[in-house]
Amino acid sequence: MTSLPETSSGKKLGLVIDLDTCVGCHACAVSCKEWNTTGYSAPLTDQNPYGADAAGVWLNRVHSYEVSPGTQGSGGMTVNFPRSCLHCEEPACVTVCPTGASYKRAGDGIVLVNPDTCIGCKLCSWACPYGAREYDDDHGVMKKCTLCVDRIYNENLEPEDRQPACVRACPPGARHFGDLGDPESDVSTLVRERGGYDLMPGLGYRPVNKYLPPRERRAATDSGPLELEPADVAAAAAGDGMFRWLDRVLSR
């Protein structure tokens, strides 16, 4: 199982994260924690939760970066950046796993850890370029985003709620879930239209999750004028401060 599935259904479930819309509110991170600490990965332990060095297991974390103006003349921006497992197509986190606890599901491409067979050797976390695996010291096993496998097929949930907790919670709708293996799916369309990209493609992990880049900041609206024309050039020049356009007859 540690070997990648030989046949794949072609289905590649994953997330599309819109960096142009993410306000960095951490809603996705906390709802992920909340769902998963009582779900498949229960518990996501918190060490020293009320002490000096609180450190818990989270499957999704939201970073913020600043981009200083580059040579291409972009104006500089602040970009919020949620990060979780990308459910890679060539996930070394799976192939390095000595026990088979880490595996990629053939049916939908979700990368999971079997908490009953993981020995906690941590090698998979070394193999993940995206920092997406978090070790639960108390539990002695590795934990990671499950793509909410216990939600997306869950018949105890309303059909429209069968989506990951993080997507369900995200207030501005910056997270999208779907089948990236289906070129016609909403998420695939979004990726095409917005130039969705892979993180560190050079490493060859072929992430399924995609990021939509922040749009170029618009100083001026595309067609907008740069300055208003004075309405009444003569009056303005005379500096009398009163405007003739005020003489329009207006009915209340």
Binding site: Q47, A54, N154
Partner: protein, 960 residues
């Protein structure tokens, strides 16, 4: 989505049972009041989810909302009523029974009421039961009541209510679905947190332009199409320059102004006269306009007249008058407000200001929206289309928390009016019960006498000096000095001044301080140490505390608890009934009104009681009218739930608008319905009404809407609400200062009132600037709300505190380089008032003259049942230590409060500081350091490891 199982792969239970039970209620991890569904398993909260059907959040849930579980199971929850046994601040308490607690409180309160009710100061903080607490105060008979609005955003509320009859805050919202251009001033998070995020998401999807004016480029500003990194406190100048540009170009919606505003109303031009600058009125009191058709002054409220917008006209009495609009034009077309003239002070280039003005005009006038929605105006004229100017604005504490915020906010509203974009498609839209008459008809009430209730509500909206609460000699009647000459339209009171004033017995001493849900001895006071001094100060003669008795209701071990004498421990929000009422701060949407409740979804496992129950119980014990029956028995023996259903504020009007009447069929008005709460519970704990399309726009002048609002009890009459560009109440105060009328300010306040009560918006530098060397104190220092933390109470939350366990002082990278301050350096931040030590983080996206930090992350060691060496205490810091409640002495030795001179809004963001690097060896921790608080009686040491969720695991595996 169907799952394809592949043999050989481990079996995963993909359809586990999630809960035994799901209960709807309303979130209270912040004041946004989203609808939530609480999943319960074995009686424990397992999962909280945003309610899709709820009008506020439509399914979304923020970080705090999800973390509600950790609040519910926080180790900082109070467990028993407490009575202080050691000195204040020592944290020495004994646990007492509720009977002891209630009889003690009733004893103290009853005695005060019988003697001098205003000797009780009853102030509430993050409260959403103001309809109850305000009423309780008025029944008690003390004018000394308010909630936190005075330190929060009364500038926004007052400026809005005196200008457009609605306001920013959560009283209105941009038309997220239609606006093309959204201009946001000084918002980091706001009360409408989820709606704003949802709205911004919609803007992004539609590609509308979003411009954020904010000294800091984070959060919402980070995703803005354009970030305007303004210098704090100068937004008024920016807005004036925008108005200047629009005037210069004639890009003004005159049709809107003529119909909906007082722009054409004539102003008496008779310097020195007692009515100079007031509206010229006819005998019936109607304002006049100059009708160009007939060449005469006519009732300005009549339809179909053709009023003049400029010029000088002669009134019947021979005096001169000019349309108010010409005053506006005169003021803002002045060269003083040309973009070039303000650019340097606001820190934005003139070209940018001009471009924004051009873009606003372009969006408003070239991208007009026409909806096929017929509507009828106040005069009964039918309009086939609803026409909108798709420019919307929103502003909050970046504007309001400055001492010039009232005027700046009014300027923003006027800018919207000039563009014709209030309550139109694509513009800023009211949420019912707004719009209200300008200003709303309530007036603040004063004490009547011992044992007597007030004649009206403690808070209201003065329209002239006659409405102030002052003695003959001008001495304030209220402990916080609200509605005095110092802050005449302090419509939300001035909670930030209560403790300081009471300790100085200025204007008088009080006997009982009663507070609820406000962390006054930490993050919600300016100058923490002086507030602590005030709370512990003793009278040298008697040895008693100067504030003799302090009753406090909190649910958690906050920094304030150790300073109170009697602690009434509250439940959590998941353990009680609550009501988000139309009488208070409702959850309405632009499309229609709504209200909601909280129901107890879990039972308390501690000896705690809902504060509302306690308040009602106390009301009955001390025999407050309205809380006892004629026979003296409790009127609401069933506590708050009983009150919610049965209390009527006016006939047919109660706390909840939905499902009224004996049959539960009427909404708005109707007799109490015994099954009302059950019906709310059946309906997911909220009620929401969508108005017909014809009542969704121009509601200030929409006949159908206005008539409906009257029938519904939202407003008293269906007259058009004419928006007030020129504010007559302001001029009335100014005239008094100029020596007119019976009630005039004392000499000390005259010049101040005259200056700040300008009927058209003015700009002045934040007041602190006048008191400090701005060269030396080179930086403006402000705070922002972190999205994943709510004031002080988020830090007890095991999940949220991992995200924000400590705060930094953020400074511009360029400035850091100039001052030799590097990333992670420790610095002293010094104001004219105090010093704090913190650690620096450099960033590009901040105005160079500004430093800032996250609000309320710093904690006092030991509080909230956190380990004393927690980062909140060792690295976190508050800017509050740097802020003074009082401005430096003026002539005569008087010190005004550090507030807006019009509204009394606390001027948190006027702060000026300098920043100095500390050699690395000399600092490892934040300062100032206060003695660590000891754990309160009854609280257990917090766990060292948290395995929340483990309890559900085996069961879910068993497959259910």
């Amino acid at each position: 989505m169907a799952e394809r199982r592949v043999s050989g792969e481990p079996k995963v239970e993909t359809s586990p049972r999630i809960a035994d039970e799901v209960k709807c209620t309303t979130c209270y991890m912040c004041a946004c009041r989203c609808g939530i569904k609480v999943y319960l398993k074995d009686g424990t909260v397992r999962y909280i989810e945003g309610n899709r059907d709820h009008p506020v959040n439509k399914g979304a849930l923020c970080a705090k909302g999800s973390a509600g579980i950790m609040q519910q199971y926080s180790p900082a929850r109070l467990r028993n009523p407490l009575m202080r046994v050691g000195p204040r601040g020592s944290g020495e308490f004994k646990e007492i029974t509720w009977e002891e607690a209630l009889s003690t409180a009733a004893g103290w309160l009853g005695e005060v009421r019988a003697r001098d009710p205003r000797k009780l100061a009853f102030f509430t903080g993050r409260d959403q039961s103001q309809a109850l607490t305000g009423w309780w105060a008025s029944r008690f008979g003390t004018p000394n009541h308010a909630a936190h609005g005075g330190f929060c955003s009364v500038n926004m509320a007052a400026a809005g209510l005196y200008t457009i009859g609605g306001s920013f805050w959560e009283f209105g919202e941009p038309d997220w679905n239609r606006t093309r251009y959204f201009l946001m001033f000084g918002v980091a998070e706001d009360h409408d947190s989820n709606p704003i995020k949802i709205g911004l998401g919609k803007l992004k999807q539609r590609g509308a332009k979003f411009v954020s004016v904010n000294p800091v480029r984070s959060g919402y500003s980070a995703i803005a199409d354009e970030w305007i990194g303004i210098r704090p406190g100068t937004d008024g100048l920016l807005v004036f320059a925008l108005i200047h540009e629009l005037l210069r170009a004639g890009k003004i919606d005159l049709d809107y102004l003529v119909r909906y505003t007082n722009a054409p109303w004539l102003i008496i031009d008779d310097p020195g006269a007692a009515d100079d600058g007031l509206f010229a009125r006819d005998e019936a009191g109607n304002p006049l306009a100059w009708d160009r058709e007939t060449g005469a002054a006519v009732n300005a409220k009549l339809p179909d007249i053709t009023p003049a917008f400029h010029g000088e006209y002669t009134l019947a009495d021979g005096r001169k008058a000019t349309p108010s609009f010409s005053r506006l034009v005169e003021r803002y077309s002045s060269k003083d407000y040309a973009p070039e003239a303000v650019a340097e002070r606001v820190g934005i280039t003139a070209a940018t200001i001009k471009r924004i003005a051009a873009e606003l005009a372009q969006a408003a006038f070239e991208e007009e929206i026409v909806l096929d929605i017929p509507w009828t105006d106040w005069a009964g004229r039918r309009h086939e289309k609803t026409i909108g100017r798709p420019v919307a604005m929103h502003a909050m504490r970046g504007i309001s928390a400055h001492s010039n915020g009232f005027h700046t906010c009014r300027a923003i509203h006027i800018l919207q009016l000039l563009l014709g974009s209030i309550d139109c498609p694509g513009g800023f839209r009211y949420k019912p019960p707004f719009p209200k008459p300008i200003p709303p008809g309530l007036k603040p009430s004063d004490q009547v006498g011992p044992g007597q209730p007030l004649g009206g509500p403690p808070l209201g909206f003065p329209t002239g000096p006659e409405d102030l609460l002052v003695d003959e000699d001008g001495t304030p009647r209220r402990i916080d000095k609200a509605f005095s000459w110092e802050a005449p339209i302090a419509a939300h009171g001035m909670m930030h001044m209560v403790i300081t004033n009471a300790a100085k017995r200025d204007p008088y001493g009080i006997d009982v301080l009663f507070m609820y849900m406000a962390n006054m001895s930490w993050n919600s006071s300016m100058s923490v140490s002086s507030v602590l001094r005030s709370l512990t100060e003793t009278d040298p003669k008697t040895g008693d505390y100067v504030i003799p008795k302090f009753i406090y209701a909190d649910a958690f071990f906050s920094e304030t608890v150790p300073y109170a004498d009697l602690i009434l421990p509250d439940t959590t929000y998941l353990e009680r009934w609550d009501c988000i009422s139309l009488l208070d701060r409702p959850i309405c949407e632009a499309d229609g009104p709504g209200d909601s409740i909280r129901q107890p979804v879990v039972q308390p496992d501690r000896n705690v009681r809902p504060f509302q129950d306690v308040l009602i119980d106390l009301g009955a014990r001390i025999g407050l009218p309205g809380f006892v029956k004629e026979d003296g028995g409790a009127k609401y023996p069933g506590g708050y739930a009983d009150y919610l259903v049965n209390h009527e504020r006016a006939p047919g009007i109660g706390s909840l608008a939905g499902w009224r009447g004996e049959d539960g069929e009427s909404h708005g008005r109707g007799k109490p319905n015994a099954k009302q709460l059950e019906t709310y519970v059946e309906n997911q704990c909220f009620w929401h009404l969508k108005l017909p399309e014809s009542q969704r726009f121009f509601r200030h002048a929409n006949k159908e809407y206005l008539e409906w609002a009257v029938s519904f009890g939202l407003i008293g009459h269906a007259d058009q609400i004419v928006m007030q560009i020129y504010s007559e109440p302001m001029q009335k105060f100014r005239l008094a200062a100029q020596g007119h009328g019976e009630r005039q300010p004392p000499e000390r306040d005259r010049a101040r009132v005259e200056t700040y009560f300008d009927p058209l918006p003015i700009w002045y530098a934040p007041l602190e600037d006048a008191g400090v060397e701005t060269e030396a104190f080179q930086f403006h220092a402000v705070t922002q709300r972190p999205m994943a933390m709510y004031h002080s109470w988020g830090s007890q939350n095991a999940w949220l505190r991992q995200i924000h366990g400590a705060n930094r002082l953020y400074m511009s990278r360029a400035m850091g380089i100039r001052l030799g301050i590097g990333e992670d350096d420790w610095v002293w931040v010094t104001s004219a008032h105090g010093k704090v030590r913190g650690q620096v983080r450099l960033m590009d996206g901040v105005n160079e003259n500004t430093v800032w930090t996250w609000n309320a992350i710093g904690k006092r060691a030991g509080a909230w049942n956190l380990a004393p060496d927690s980062p909140e205490a060792t690295k976190g810091f508050l800017l509050n230590h740097l802020i003074s409640e009082l401005l430096p002495e003026r002539g005569g030795g008087y010190r005004y409060s550090n507030s807006d001179p019009v509204t009394g809004q606390a001027a948190w963001y006027d702060l000026r500081v300098k920043v100095e690097r500390i050699a690395p060896a000399d600092a490892r921790a934040s300062a100032p350091v206060f003695a660590a608080l000891d754990r309160l009686p009854g609280l257990e040491p917090p766990p060292e490891i948290l395995r929340f969720g483990e309890q559900f695991k085996d069961k879910s595996k068993g497959g259910a």
